[in-house]
């Protein structure tokens, strides 16, 4: 494993994507610490506020002061020469670090509580886009991890077993997989969402959707894994193990699984973006995460108002950028992993 990591870090693309992903996940983990405001705090006096400029002023970090030019737009302009002090590790609103440790310190906070400080602007009700982005990353980034855990576990179980045992088990498992592949997933999601919506609150709904997505998404992985385990089953070391009287579970665990691990790793990395994009698409359609929770897809769906394009409130599209960066990073990492893993597969 450490070997793999070293190989990945030797490649520039590998290290770049790894660093990006680690930063993103750290951000999600420490959301409360990084955010500048509570996720749902509104400020109806400062809706659609542009990102506030952060500068070095008077020997310290400071934020530019803006004034309203047109209430109805709304439009703001910087007040020349007026700045407010910002402090690192300063006290702010209450939160729980990692959900456990009650804290007040934040990465960056204005010295006065009434300072308007929006690192990435504000949305239609004056909520901080940056803070929502950071909190929203929790949903958008974990949805992939939960999804592939279920997908890969089921795929490995069904694919590995049916490849190993073959015969009737293989036949029925594969027909079941084909059945699942034939289910039109979008319609199933729409139907399940509307049936289940009244029974779950919006944050439970999120978990429900991931589970639905992955329960119908494991079929593809199962097919590939079945093929691989079928071929590994015929190799001499497996036959040797069988001759020596090792049970099927032992063989699966000690001989077949290690040979599938490299594929699993690559496939998992490459399929995480699918879940992130899936969440974005569902939330965009109004079927995913609902207010007042925050996710990147939800934030993007709230930016589809024509006013936002016509008045050039570009900062409301930053969730799209975040999705883009995450998806690219996962794809690059997957590619690098495959490059690293593939030659080893050949040598065996």
């Amino acid at each position: 494993m450490s070997n793999l990591l070293r190989e990945v870090c030797r490649r520039p693309l590998g290290i770049a994507s790894l660093v990006t992903l680690v930063a993103l996940y750290l951000g999600a983990l420490l959301a409360g610490f990084i955010a500048v405001r509570p996720v749902n705090q509104q400020d109806l006096e400062h809706t659609y506020h542009p990102p506030t400029r952060i500068t070095w002023h008077d020997g310290g970090l400071a934020v530019q002061v803006y004034r309203v030019v047109d209430r109805s737009g709304p439009a703001y302009e910087p007040v020349p020469g007026e700045y407010r002090r910002l402090h690192l590790f300063a006290p702010g609103f209450d939160y729980k670090l990692l959900g456990l440790l009650p804290l007040q310190r934040h990465l960056l906070q204005p010295a006065d509580t009434d300072t308007v400080f929006y690192p990435l602007g504000s949305d239609s009700t004056g909520r901080c886009v940056f803070s929502r982005l950071v909190y929203g990353s929790r949903v958008s980034l974990t949805i992939g991890l939960i999804g592939i855990t279920i997908t890969m576990a089921l795929g490995l179980l069904v694919g590995g077993l049916s490849g190993y045992f073959g015969g009737k088990i293989d036949f029925f498992a594969m027909r079941g997989v084909e059945f699942l592949m034939a289910v039109p997933s979008l319609y199933l999601l729409l139907a399940l969402r509307s049936v289940l919506a009244p029974r779950f609150s919006s944050d439970q709904m999120f978990i429900v959707i991931v589970i639905i997505l992955s329960l119908i998404g494991w079929a593809g992985a199962a097919r590939v894994l079945r093929g691989m385990s079928l071929s590994i089953r015929r190799t001499q070391f497996v036959l040797a193990a069988e001759c020596m009287g090792q049970g099927p579970l032992g063989i699966l665990r000690l001989h077949i699984l290690p040979n599938l691990a490299s594929y699993l790793l690559v496939a998992a990395t490459l399929s995480i973006p699918g879940y992130i994009l899936g969440e974005a698409a569902l939330s965009f359609l109004g079927l995913g995460i609902a207010e007042p929770a925050s996710s990147w897809g939800l934030m993007l769906s709230q930016a589809q108002n024509i006013k936002i394009f016509m008045l050039n409130f570009w900062w409301l599209l930053t969730p799209g950028l975040a999705i883009f960066v995450t998806v690219i990073a996962f794809n690059l990492l997957g590619d690098v992993l495959r490059d690293v893993v593939d030659p080893r597969m050949k040598t065996q």
Binding site: A197, G286, I306, M310
Partner: protein
Amino acid sequence: MSRPIPNRHHLLAPLLACALLAGCGRPPPPPVEVTVAPIPVDAEVIEQPSGKPGAMLVETEPGDIATVNPLIAEDQSSSGVISRFIEGLVTLHPDTGEIIPNLAKSWEISEDGLQYTFHLRRGVCWSDGHPFTADDVVFTWRDAFYTKELDPQTGQPAIDPETGAPKLRYPSRPAYIQLIEGQEVKVEKLDDLTVRFTLPQLYAPFLLFGGGEEILPAHVLGPAAKDGTLLDQWSINTAINHPEQLVGTGPFLLESYRPGERMVFRRNPNYWRVDRDGHRLPYIERIVTSIVGDSAASNIAFARGLTDIEGIQPDNVTWISRAADKFDFTIHDLGPSTSTSFVWFNLRPGNDPDGKPFIAPHKLAWFQDVRFRQAVSYGVNREGIVQGVFGGRASPLHGYVSAKNAKWLNLDVRRYPFDPAKARALLAEAGFKTRADGRLVDAAGNPVEFSLMTNNNSNLRTEMATVFAENMAALGIRVELQFIDFNTLIRRTSESFNYEASLLGLGGGAPDPYASKDILMSNGRLHMWNPQQAKPATEWEARIDELMREIGREFDETKRKAAFAEVQAIMAEQQPLVFLVTGNEYVGIRNRWQNVQPTKLGGITWNLDALWAELN
């Protein structure tokens, strides 16, 4: 932007099949011969300066029409098209809101208030040149509205087993509206130009609601009323294949229609209004109406200079006005609109068919407590919604009537300025407590939380709901937001009653308070918080019922106003609807159009027949 057409084809397929089958047995409708009649003796002369005829007006309509038959039209798009060619005897003054002559030039009301005699304009003709007479009025009321369904076996009028009343042959919305407490109005023709309506009992808004009823052409629809196909007439199919069949007295006639694409209107050559120089109106030769997907697409088309005239959402005014110089248009601010927005709680007691209560009993107890509703009202930051969501282009709403309807507005009602401290005090008085973690709990310890739904295709409503949820969070109340499809929402609020709270709006803003009876009276279909009650659930609802009945009976304007003022005061005190804000109304029109005189009530299209533009 084009609409997805396939769906509509599915809808149309059976219609077309019917038409084809019918076509085998019955000849196609006879061609309509159009003769241009002389200008009516009683033609109305407009006050505005004369203009030049011949211009073409281009506009967009969000949403397609469902029918062109006034008897079955329910949606706004269809009614809008129909009102271009079908008119009533009276109409409303665009400035004062008074009832003024339209197809009738004058009327008399008998002393007992039961007989209305209308004198029709002499010489008015339908668009095909056939004279418009009292027969048309009698036909509309007697043959289209009040004809009874005959029992095929006995030949006697069939009886509706549920109500015990005779079944109508053409059950339609206007027919039911024109039954006064279930009784018919007697309509008689005194001579060709005089009609008398005799009411079964006192009914104050008859002049407006009865007189404003759209009159149908007897010479075109008469045969259909006899052979029982009246409700099948003037369908989408007619509009597509035989638009010339759509005969009316209004200024514009439908010339062609392509579903999902566009409608073209042509000027009525037999219209009954003339300008000062004696030329027949309207000046506009054709109106081309493109059908677009939604109001956003419609607003964009105007902002890009593609259309001449457009109603603009308050939050779109700023960016659209930036193109005003480039495309040479003006946006008129018509002040507060008649549309309102409000939150209400489901107050329906009892159980659904599965035996489960519509809402959990402890929640129903909160919602039924007037102090809870008042506290919610104090907790809503209306000024913040006006500034933040509408960018200042709205005003806080304190009662049932919007500021636009100044005639009926009662300003002296209890108001709920944003005051979280007062809200907390009221909640404490009602037995609610605040837990250590800031959450509000009731006397039994249940945390106060409810779900609030609104339709997902209106960004203003979803943003208002977001603000509302945050305002409630400040009081320790958790609000779960559900943004759902509009039709699903209406089903849940009016059929299954499976919801806790909802945020919606009402449009229209009726000129007479009695039009609100379906909303305000406890047996009303649109009595949102607890519709169609067998008998009023609360004393204040009973009092509102009583006042509304008085408004229906009473002729004296001051008494009616006093009664409606009391209704508004009760609504404000009880807060069954927690009113939020009313947006301002904006219309844009290209500057090439002359005679544009926007009024608060009539908007910009009240004198569409007098608008003109230079030909280029």
